[in-house]
Symmetry: C2
Subunit: 276 residues, 2 copies
C-alpha cells in the first residue's frame, strides 16, 4: 500500500512512518521542518500534494490545532476511496468539519487516538477508534495486533479528560508543590518505593511536548469539570485533616479502597515495587 | 544477639522478625493477637516483659498511636546497654518522651523509619535515621547493606509530609475522582501507559493499612501545609484552564519540566513504559 505521513518529522509522525515502512508499505512523508534524523525507508515529498495524491492512506500527525487546516489543504488531493487518518488526542468539535472536508472528495476519515506516546514499542499499541464496526475493521486491517477500543466522540473526550488531562494536571501540580517545597532531589532521596514510582510517573508526564499538553487541556471540553472534581476531593480531605478527623480520613481511605479487589491492590503494589 | 520484636504479628513486625531470624539472631516476639501464620524461627513470649528482659535489641512495631504507651510499659524491663528501636512514620512530639522513657533504664533509643512497606525484598531496604553519627553507626551494624539517610526529627517529618502524606492524599483524591466519574474499570481500559502506571501507583497507596494512613496524615504537623500547597497549585492551574490560557498552561508545564534534566525525564518515561 502507499502511505503518506503528513508531519513526518514529528515524534508521532516518525513513529507511524517507521511502523508502515516495517510493514512493507511504500511510505512518503511531508513536513515543514526537515527531520532531525531521517526515518529509514521513508521517501520525502516536496509538498502535501505530492505526498498525498497517490496514497491509499494519508496519516495526519501535525499539532492538534493545525489538524483541520492541514486536512482541508490536503483534501483536494486525496484519491477517491483512500483513507485519511487523524490521530488527535481530543476529538471535540473538529471531527464533524474533518469528516466533511474528507468526504467531499470521496475519501474516508478514520479517526483514531493512539493511547501511547512515540516511546512505545510497537507490540503494545492501543487505540481508541471513533465510530462503528467499519471503522474498527479498517483500524484492524492497519494495526492487526493492537488493542482497539471503540468509542463515541463524546465518550472519547470524556474519558481523555481523566486519562490525559487529569493525570497531567495532577502530576504537574504535584511536581511544582515538591519543587517549591522540599525540592525534587531531596524528595527522590527520601522516597519510599511508592513515592519513587509516583515521582517517575510525574516526570514521565513532563517528558512530553508542552504544546500538546496545553492542547489536551484547553481543547477538551470535559477537562475543567474533571479538574474541579479532583480539587473538590482534595478540599474535602483537607477539611477532614483540618479537623484532625482520623476516623473520617480512615473512612475515606477504606471507602475508595473497597471499590477495588484485594488482588488488584496487591498486584499494583508488586508492580510498583518492581519499578524501583 | 537476642532480639525482641513487640508487635510481632503485624506486617512490619513480621518483616523484621524474619530479617533478624535470617541474620542468625535469637528472636522472640510478642503480640496481643496471635499471628495469622507463624514466622519461621520466631519464639513467642507470653508477655512484653518475657520478650524484652534478656534482649540486646527490642524493636517496637506497634501501631503509631500506641508506641509511647508500649515503650513506657517495656522500659522497666530493658537491659542496661540494650537498644530499643522505634520505627514510626512520624516522629512528631513523641520522640522526646520516648527517649526519656528509654534512657531512664540505661538503655538507648534508636529512632529509624523504614522507607518501605512489608512487601519490600530485604535487599532494597532504606531507612531514615534520626540523630547523629552514633545512631547511623548502630543502624549500620543492624542493617549493613541498607541505605541510611540521617535526618533531624523535624527534617524527617517535613520530608514525610511530601513523601507519605502528600502522595497518599493525592492518590486517594485521584482515585475517588475517577471512581465517581468515569469509573475505575473504564479508566484502566482506556489508559495510556502513563495513566496506567498512575493507576497502579494510586492502587498501591490504597493497599496499606487504613489506620496507618490516618496516623500519617493527622500526626504529621506538616501534612496540612503540604496539602494546602498542592491545592494551591491545582487551583492556579484551574484558573488558567478557566481562562483558556494555553500560553500560561504551557509556561507552567515548561517551568516545572525545566527544573529537571532531559535524561531524568526520559529515564522516567522508559521506566513507566516498562511497567505496563
Amino acid at each position: 500500500m502507499k502511505v503518506a505521513v503528513l508531519g513526518s518529522s514529528g515524534a508521532m509522525g516518525r513513529f507511524f512512518a517507521s511502523y508502515f515502512v516495517a510493514r512493507g508499505d511504500e511510505v512518503v512523508g511531508y513536513d515543514l521542518s526537515p527531520p532531525d534524523h531521517p526515518v529509514k525507508g521513508l521517501t520525502l515529498a516536496r509538498s502535501t500534494k505530492e505526498a498525498a495524491e497517490r496514497a491509499d492512506i494519508v496519516l495526519v500527525a501535525v499539532p492538534m490545532p493545525k489538524t483541520l487546516a492541514v486536512v482541508r489543504r490536503v483534501s483536494r488531493h486525496l484519491r477517491k476511496g483512500s483513507t485519511l487518518i487523524e490521530i488527535s488526542s481530543v476529538k471535540g468539535n473538529s471531527l464533524r468539519p474533518l469528516r466533511l472536508a474528507v468526504s467531499l472528495t470521496g475519501a474516508r476519515l478514520l479517526s483514531i487516538h493512539p493511547l501511547f506516546g512515540p516511546a512505545a514499542r510497537r507490540v503494545g499499541m492501543k487505540f481508541c477508534v471513533i465510530g462503528g464496526r467499519s471503522d474498527i475493521a479498517s483500524a484492524r486491517r492497519l494495526f492487526p495486533r493492537s488493542v482497539l477500543i471503540p468509542m463515541s466522540q463524546q465518550g472519547h473526550d470524556r474519558a481523555m479528560a481523566y486519562v490525559l488531562s487529569l493525570v497531567q494536571l495532577t502530576n504537574l501540580a504535584f511536581l511544582s508543590t515538591i519543587a517549591k517545597g522540599m525540592g525534587l532531589e531531596q524528595f527522590g532521596r527520601a522516597a519510599s518505593p511508592i513515592a519513587s514510582a509516583q515521582l517517575s510517573v510525574a516526570r514521565a508526564t513532563l517528558s512530553q511536548d508542552p504544546s500538546l499538553f496545553s492542547s489536551i487541556q484547553t481543547l477538551n471540553p470535559y477537562a475543567r469539570e474533571t479538574l474541579s472534581s479532583m480539587v473538590g476531593e482534595l478540599t474535602r480531605l483537607q477539611g477532614l485533616l483540618a479537623k484532625n478527623d482520623s476516623k473520617g480520613l480512615q473512612r475515606s481511605y477504606e471507602g475508595t479502597s473497597k471499590r477495588q479487589s484485594r488482588s488488584e491492590l496487591q498486584g499494583s503494589l508488586r508492580a510498583v515495587y518492581s519499578l524501583v
